[in-house]
C-alpha cells in the first residue's frame, strides 16, 4: 500500500478525534480524578484533625487531673496546718490556764499558811505568857520579858 490521501484523511480525522477527547472526555475523567484526590485529602485531614483533637483532649484531661490532685493535696495540707494550729492554740491556752490556776492556788496557799502561822504565833505567845504566869504564879513583867517571849514566839 502506498502513502496517499487516504492516510492523510484518516490522520485529520484522528486529530479531530484527539481534539474531541481532549475537550469532551478528558475533562470529565480529570474532574473525577481531582474529586477523588480532594475526597481522600479531606478524609486524611479530618482523620488527622480528629487525632490531634483527641491528643489535645487527652492532654487537657491529664492537666486537669494534675491540677485537681494538686488542689486536693493543698487543701489537705491547709487542713492539717489548721488542725495543728488549733491544737497548738488549745494546748497553749490550757497550759497558761493551768499556770494561772496553779499560781493563784499557790498564792492562796502561801497567804493562808502565813495567816495560820501568824495566828499560831500570836496564840503561842499568849499561851506561853499564860503558861509562864501560871508557873511563876506571879505577874510577869511583860515589858521585862518581852524580848524573851518574842524570841520564843519566833522559834516556834
Amino acid at each position: 500500500m502506498d502513502f496517499n490521501a487516504t492516510l492523510i484523511g484518516e490522520m485529520i480525522s484522528f486529530a479531530i478525534l484527539i481534539w474531541f477527547c481532549v475537550h469532551f472526555i478528558w475533562p470529565y475523567l480529570n474532574k473525577a480524578i481531582e474529586e477523588r484526590q480532594l475526597k481522600i485529602a479531606e478524609g486524611l485531614n479530618a482523620a488527622e484533625r480528629a487525632h490531634a483533637d483527641l491528643k489535645d483532649a487527652d492532654a487537657k484531661v491529664q492537666a486537669e487531673i494534675k491540677q485537681a490532685r494538686l488542689q486536693a493535696s493543698e487543701i489537705i495540707d491547709k487542713a492539717q496546718q489548721q488542725a495543728n494550729q488549733i491544737i497548738e492554740k488549745a494546748r497553749g491556752e490550757a497550759v497558761s490556764e493551768i499556770n494561772r490556776l496553779k499560781a493563784s492556788a499557790q498564792d492562796d496557799i502561801a497567804s493562808m499558811a502565813q495567816r495560820a502561822r501568824d495566828q499560831l504565833r500570836e496564840q503561842v505567845g499568849a499561851l506561853a505568857v499564860a503558861g509562864a504566869s501560871k508557873i511563876v504564879q506571879r505577874e510577869v513583867d511583860a515589858s521585862t520579858h518581852k524580848a524573851l517571849l518574842d524570841q520564843l514566839a519566833a522559834e516556834i
Binding site: A5, G9, I16, L17
Partner: protein, 271 residues
Amino acid sequence: MASESGGLTEYIQHHLQHLVPHASKEGFWAVHLDSVTVSLALGVLFCLWFWLKARKATAGVPGKGQAFVEIILEFVDGQVKDVFHGDRRVLGPLALTVFVWVFLMNAMDLLPVDLLPWITEKFGVGHFRAVPTADINMTFAMSLTVFVLIIFYSFKAKGAGGYMRELFTAPFGSSPLLWLPNFLLNVVELLSKPVSLAMRLFGNMYAGELVFMLIAGLFSAGAGLAGWALYGAGIIGYTVWGIFHILIISIQAFIFMVLTIVYISMAHDHH
C-alpha cells in the same frame, strides 16, 4: 487508491488480511503475528502501567496517575462485588485484566486504519491488522480461557460428584427420564457461553473496523470537486464514527468483563 469499486474491495480485502509468518503457511499454522504482537504489547503495557502505579502507591493523597488507576480498580471491584459474594482475590484481578486489556485492544480501532499498516510496510511487512479483538482467534482465546475457568470453578465449588449430579438433574428435576434433557440443555448452555462471549466482541470490533474501512474508501471515491466533497464527507464520517466508537469499545470491554464475572460466579452457585 483506485477510484472504482473494485479498488475499494481490494482495499478492504487487503486490510482484512492478517500478518502470517510466511505466505506459504496456511490453515492451522498461519499464526496471526499482528494480533499476537499487538495484544502482547498492550498486555505488557497494562501490566507495566498498573505495576508501576501499584509499586509507588501511597496511602496518602494519591497523585493523578494513582487516582486514575484507583478509579478503574474500584469500578471493576464494585462490579465484581455486586455480582459475586465470595472471595474476590482471583475474580477481581481477572476482571480487571479482562476489562483493561480488552479496552486497550479495542482502542486500537481508534487509530487510523491505514496508520499501522503504513508504518509496518516501511519495514517490509505488508499486512497488519491493528485490532486484536477484531480477530476471532483472539476473542475465542479469551472466552475459552473463561470457559476453562467456569469448568474449574464448577468442580471446585461443587466437587466432581456434585457437578455431575447438577448437570443431570438441573434444571428440570432428578427423575431418570429427565437426565438426558437436563444434560443436553446444560451442555448447550455451557457451550453457548464462550461462543457468545467471543462472537459478540469479535462481531462488534470486526464490524467497527469494516465501517472505518468503508468510510476510508470515501477518501478516494471521486475525482475533481465531487472528490473533494467526498473527501470532506469522509473526514466527517470517519470522525463521527470514531467518536461513536469510543462508546462501543468501552461498552464491549465492560460487557466482556461483566459476563466473565457473571459466568464464573454462576459456576459457584448451587442449583
